[in-house]
């Protein structure tokens, strides 16, 4: 009977937790949290225009290294600059994966998205678009040069796999017009190119300029004009729904840009200049500052997440061991829920979901919170098992001396438990360090993210990954040495 009651309680608590956590985004999605015509006011008030883009799409948007620091460049960035100028605001670029852009827009993380985005009917359901500012000349197949004779048109790819950016127009085109081929979607172009070079895909479908940029910078690749038919080519600026005033302002800038032929005469030549520098100097040593910056963020994220994990984990462990049923139930529900959901989803949820409630939640803070909260569940279980491994006699001896429950834990139980669980905790910290790479999805400049930037800037896929791997290994190896040192020191004492 008692057991059944207990189970029901746990179920209820988890359901409660679920309903609380799901209620917010559902409501927000219904009401569309970004209210009508508020974005323009916000931009004018803060004198800041936040533009979201997926900077891996030269010559439209990509990164270049200038004096050791990252610079976002390309046609779309130039346009963003002009829009910001017309709005009297300072331009802030937020770089994230293409498939996160619309979510970021809907949740108010960015004011607009300029990222070679085509206004499709599906997208128009969730966001509004400006007029078309740029009409690309058509889709290209990017293939390996050795397959030059093999792949020339759609029918040659029958039975083969083609790559395209997840959520992109090209992805849809392959699905609709190349029914005999399979499609593989990846978030970043440079990963698609890697897949192409390693034979995972036979070709990648990208827009002309991009295909040519990659072919130009990599002599093993070839750009071939495709015979895919497009109904609605053209890129537009995406803006949250209901922002008519802002759309109008953006359209005015686009009118000006088109009248003065800025794209052909100013934007493209500027972008080409950066692409040349990128192709000229691809040596890794030049990108050392990228890796160092990434390393710094990874260390910061790890340290703060570990702190959150240990503090909250201890609290949850004590709650789980508590005799107070509601505390126990809450802790069990939390631990089971966190352990039962993917960390990637949790990170996206904290950044985009909790971002509804706290509008200026930065990606780094969101990443630290998400990883810390995740770690807390595992740390709590480690600590609980550690505490339970201490014989009951220890508590009794301490209590019989007049020590309170709290002092018993502090001076007698926790120090012993810590020694028992140290190896498990160490594992958890090392896992956490490695898992911090997941926050690259929300655009935190940690090591993995920086590595992807280097891949994009250098048109080289494998070497940056190898360097990242070596850096991660040096970090985890150092950490495990430090943990071993403390383990030995604690062993010394008995």
């Amino acid at each position: 009977m008692g057991k059944i009651k207990h189970l029901i309680l746990i179920l209820l608590v988890s359901l409660l937790g679920l309903s609380i956590s799901t209620a917010t985004p559902v409501q927000a999605a219904k009401q569309n949290k970004v209210e009508a015509n508020t974005v323009l006011q916000k931009i004018q008030k803060s004198k800041q225009l936040v533009v979201g883009t997926s900077a891996d799409y030269p010559p439209l948007e990509f990164t270049a290294s200038e004096n050791g620091s990252t610079k976002y460049v390309g046609v779309d960035i130039e346009l963003a600059k002009d829009i910001a100028k017309d709005l009297g605001a300072k331009l802030v670029i937020k770089n994230m994966s293409f498939d996160s852009l619309l979510v970021a827009l809907e949740t108010g993380k960015v004011d607009m998205v300029i990222s070679a985005m085509t206004p499709t009917p599906e997208r128009k359901k969730s966001v509004d678009f400006s007029k078309i500012y740029y009409r690309p000349s058509g889709e290209y197949f990017l293939i390996n040069k050795k397959d030059q004779a093999k792949y020339k048109s759609i029918k040659d790819f029958a039975g083969q796999t083609l790559g395209a950016q997840t959520g992109s127009i090209q992805y849809e085109l392959i699905q609709k017009q190349m029914k005999k081929s399979k499609v593989k979607g990846l978030g970043k172009i440079n990963n698609l190119v890697l897949a192409l070079q390693s034979g995972k895909v036979a070709g990648v479908v990208v827009e002309e300029l991009i295909a040519k940029a990659y072919a130009q910078n990599n002599k093993n690749l070839l750009a071939v004009r495709s015979d895919l038919k497009e109904d609605q080519a053209g890129n537009a600026v995406a803006i949250a729904k209901g922002q008519t005033a802002l759309v109008k302002k953006v359209n005015q800038t686009i009118d000006r840009v088109q009248k003065d032929k800025l794209i052909d005469q100013k934007y493209l030549p500027a972008a080409a200049k950066y692409m040349k520098t990128a192709s000229k100097n691809n040596s890794m040593s030049k990108y050392l500052p990228y890796f160092i910056k990434g390393l710094g963020y990874t260390v910061i994220i790890t340290i703060f997440s570990v702190l959150i994990g240990v503090i909250l984990g201890t609290v949850f462990a004590l709650m789980r061991l508590s005799n107070v049923k509601i505390l126990h139930g809450l802790a069990v529900a939390y631990i089971e829920f966190i352990r039962g959901t993917p960390q990637m989803v949790q990170i996206l949820f904290v950044y985009f979901g909790v971002g509804y409630l706290i509008s200026n939640l930065s990606a780094v803070v969101a990443g630290i919170i998400a990883i810390g909260l995740n770690s807390a569940a595992y740390v709590a279980e480690d600590i609980r098992s550690g505490i339970e491994s201490i014989a009951k006699g220890q508590t009794e001896a301490a209590r019989s001396l007049g020590l309170s429950q709290a002092k018993t834990y502090r001076y007698v139980i926790i120090p012993q438990a810590l020694k028992n669980i140290w190896p498990a905790l160490g594992n958890e910290f090392i896992t956490l360090l490695k898992d911090s790479s997941l926050v690259s999805v929300i655009g935190v400049s940690e090591l993995m993210y920086q590595t992807q930037l280097v891949q994009t800037s250098t048109y080289r896929g494998v070497l940056p990954l190898f360097i990242a791997m070596v850096i991660y290994f040096i970090m985890t190896f150092t950490l495990s040495r430090i943990l071993n040192y403390f383990e030995k020191r604690m062993k010394h004492n008995d």
């Binding site: 009794e396 001896a397 001396l401 020590l403 007698v412 012993q416």
Partner: protein, 246 residues
């Protein structure tokens, strides 16, 4: 009696359906040494653990220092009363993460708020008393069972308790170490300490106890001076038990 230190009144303790203590009333006087004997499973240890409320009694009263402990919930008041009742366990329960002197100093410093120097001074005196002054810096795992139990006694004494409870203090020891612990306890008894000892050491009980309590089946079957109880037990249960162990 007016000088009763602990007054136990209709004490009952149940674990689920299992009634371990079934109505026990008794008194412990100041300065008295009481040995509780009886067959295994008779409730001796449970009774002792009820005295400092490591087990919460199901019903009845335990009046100590004018307070009914049985009514107290876990908290400050109970902690303060426990300070005055030292307890020694069968399995020593020294804190393995601290050395000998740290084991002894912990409670005086963290509960009574003594300074490091004061606590150190008392601890060294107590270690001298139990003959282990030279082991102060060693960790419990490097001590023999007998030495560990003597440290445990010193640790309990460091709180300057009014009464000492011993829960089969020699049962986990190798035979050659029983003597040193009993000797320490005998010295303590002679110094006038009030003691309640659950034990199977009949020789010790006969020699040191002021009063023997015989427990069986959850009842206090018989109380008496050792010479009387050992020589001519009144109850049949006591006769059977003594016939087996003596």
């Amino acid at each position: 009696m007016t000088n009763a230190m602990i007054k136990i009144d209709h004490l009952k303790k149940q674990f689920g359906e299992n009634e371990v203590l079934k109505d026990i009333s008794a008194e412990v006087d100041k300065g008295q040494v009481i040995c509780i004997i009886g067959p295994s499973g008779s409730g001796k240890s449970t009774f002792l653990r009820c005295l400092n409320v490591l087990e919460h009694p199901t019903s009845g009263k335990i009046v100590f220092d004018g307070t009914d402990l049985a009514q107290l919930k876990d908290g400050k008041e109970l902690d303060q009363l426990r300070e005055k009742m030292g307890m020694v366990f069968q399995s020593f329960n020294l804190f393995p993460n601290m050395n000998v002197i740290e084991n002894i100093k912990l409670a005086p410093m963290k509960v009574k708020g003594l300074s490091e120097e004061e606590a150190e001074k008392t601890a060294l005196e107590l270690l001298e008393r139990v003959g282990l002054k030279d082991r102060a810096k060693q960790y419990p795992s490097s001590l023999s069972g007998g030495q560990q139990q003597r440290v445990a006694i010193a640790r309990a004494l460091a709180m300057n308790p009014e009464v000492m409870l011993f829960d089969e203090p020699t049962s986990a020891l190798d035979p050659e170490m029983v003597g040193e612990v009993l000797k320490t306890m005998q010295d303590l008894a002679e110094s006038g300490m009030t003691m309640v000892v659950v034990t199977h050491e009949m020789g010790f009980a006969r020699e040191v106890a002021d009063e023997i309590w015989f427990m069986a089946d959850g009842y206090l079957q018989e109380q008496g001076k050792p010479e009387e109880l050992f020589a001519s037990p009144k109850s049949q249960r006591a006769k059977d038990f003594l016939a087996k162990v003596l």
